[in-house]
Symmetry: C2
Subunit: 288 residues, 2 copies
Amino acid sequence: MLYFIGLGLGDCKDITVKGLEIVRQCSRVYLEAYTSILTVGKDALEEYYGRELLLADRDMVEQQADEILKGADVSDVAFLVVGDPFGATTHSDLILRALNAGIQYRVIHNASIMNAVGCCGLQLYNFGETVSIVFWTDTWRPESFYDKIKKNRDMGLHTLCLLDIKVKEQSMENLMRGRKIYEPPRYMTVAQAAEQLLEILQNRRDRGEELAMTQDTVCVGLARVGAENQTIRSGTLQELASSDLGGPLHSMIISGDLHPLEVDMLKLFSGPEGLKTLKMTDSSTYVS
Amino acid sequence: MLYFIGLGLGDCKDITVKGLEIVRQCSRVYLEAYTSILTVGKDALEEYYGRELLLADRDMVEQQADEILKGADVSDVAFLVVGDPFGATTHSDLILRALNAGIQYRVIHNASIMNAVGCCGLQLYNFGETVSIVFWTDTWRPESFYDKIKKNRDMGLHTLCLLDIKVKEQSMENLMRGRKIYEPPRYMTVAQAAEQLLEILQNRRDRGEELAMTQDTVCVGLARVGAENQTIRSGTLQELASSDLGGPLHSMIISGDLHPLEVDMLKLFSGPEGLKTLKMTDSSTYVS
């Protein structure tokens, strides 16, 4: 049996009881290590589980899947994923390969940013399509996520923005020379994401477009959701552009129409001046 | 401290290790009992946790919140919620009351249907706004969820449909006579939801509207997600209208544009004739 086990978002003890029992009984345990990280490292997990963990990076999962699947028809192998196994990324390819090789699989779910983001008080029902905001480079500055935010805002919906993660990346020089030397991991901050959005707004303003949002639109920055030192900050896009929410991982929400109860929750996470750009449109709706 | 603890979706052992430790150390433990149920009952939870659970129904949470909060400033109280505490419903009101009374709170996240639905192989990124499908009565037959499905489909997005739950409902007669006698719980099945959708499609067709979907649109029915006997069925809306996925809880997905990898996953859950209404629009997109 191949088990896909979600680890949740915080630390060692966010695994489910069921997941922990399975980890401790499997013959091999892989830790997927390219789409996210826990706030604790591999060592802490190994100590708590009492098991050696084999790091499965993107190369391994995509090119050496056979190694992961080896023997899983006669013994149990676990594949650990931060969050939910089907949260931020799916592992459909590995499932299909397993089934092709006659190996059954089972999923042990857990919290992921896709549902835990509800902790800021915005209703999950009121979210539209999730978007990813990627690191811009000198030559690649995509704005497509802004258009999706616009569609969500037009329908009064909130937008969860997942912020870029760069793990095991090669510099252009190392890539061209075929050297497998990797850059340190990078994580986009809420401030960086807000900066990029402000720049897009300026570009669109210059082109005379009607804007989906402004620097005064209320947004929420989230850092290390689920961890002891989780931080949530609500305020205008402009405010978040100069915020410092500490270490990774960060994500951000662009608000749509807000219910008064959602506003009351956001007040818990705003500064004294926060949310003053909100306007009531009717007795049950605020917008910014 | 007031702890909001998610129980996940399956059985006793889907609680996180952290959540279980907290449950066992709290002075009182409430089980929220009106928005969902685990596939195991209260007795099974009590036996596994080794703790008495106090059922918190809607009346209690809304009208007797003080009782839940009593003493939580000096000792620990746990409030257990099936799924994630901020998944299908938020408990913002209880949080705000707690903070007003000088009581701190903490959230222990878990899987909810909002992210676990990814187990069918459809990418969570490609979902639009979630909708709720309610039981129709003779006099109340709302169609608003259809319009949201249409908006999602227009953008190529999938729609998660949460199906109605009726717990602790009074009959009209008992309600009018002020008798607190409650009907047995009811859970909408995938077949019932599909039937209602087919009827809406007929209504709209009669009015000459352009349809968002047809009886041939590929949908996914899910039952008891996360449990040992979880069932997933993919097929046309018409097929699902005559499906029997067994006991509660059920939910349904109306597909949008499908990536080939999503189609490969859905094939795992379809009958031999399944998915034959899918058409390729370009090399990376299927629609139905």
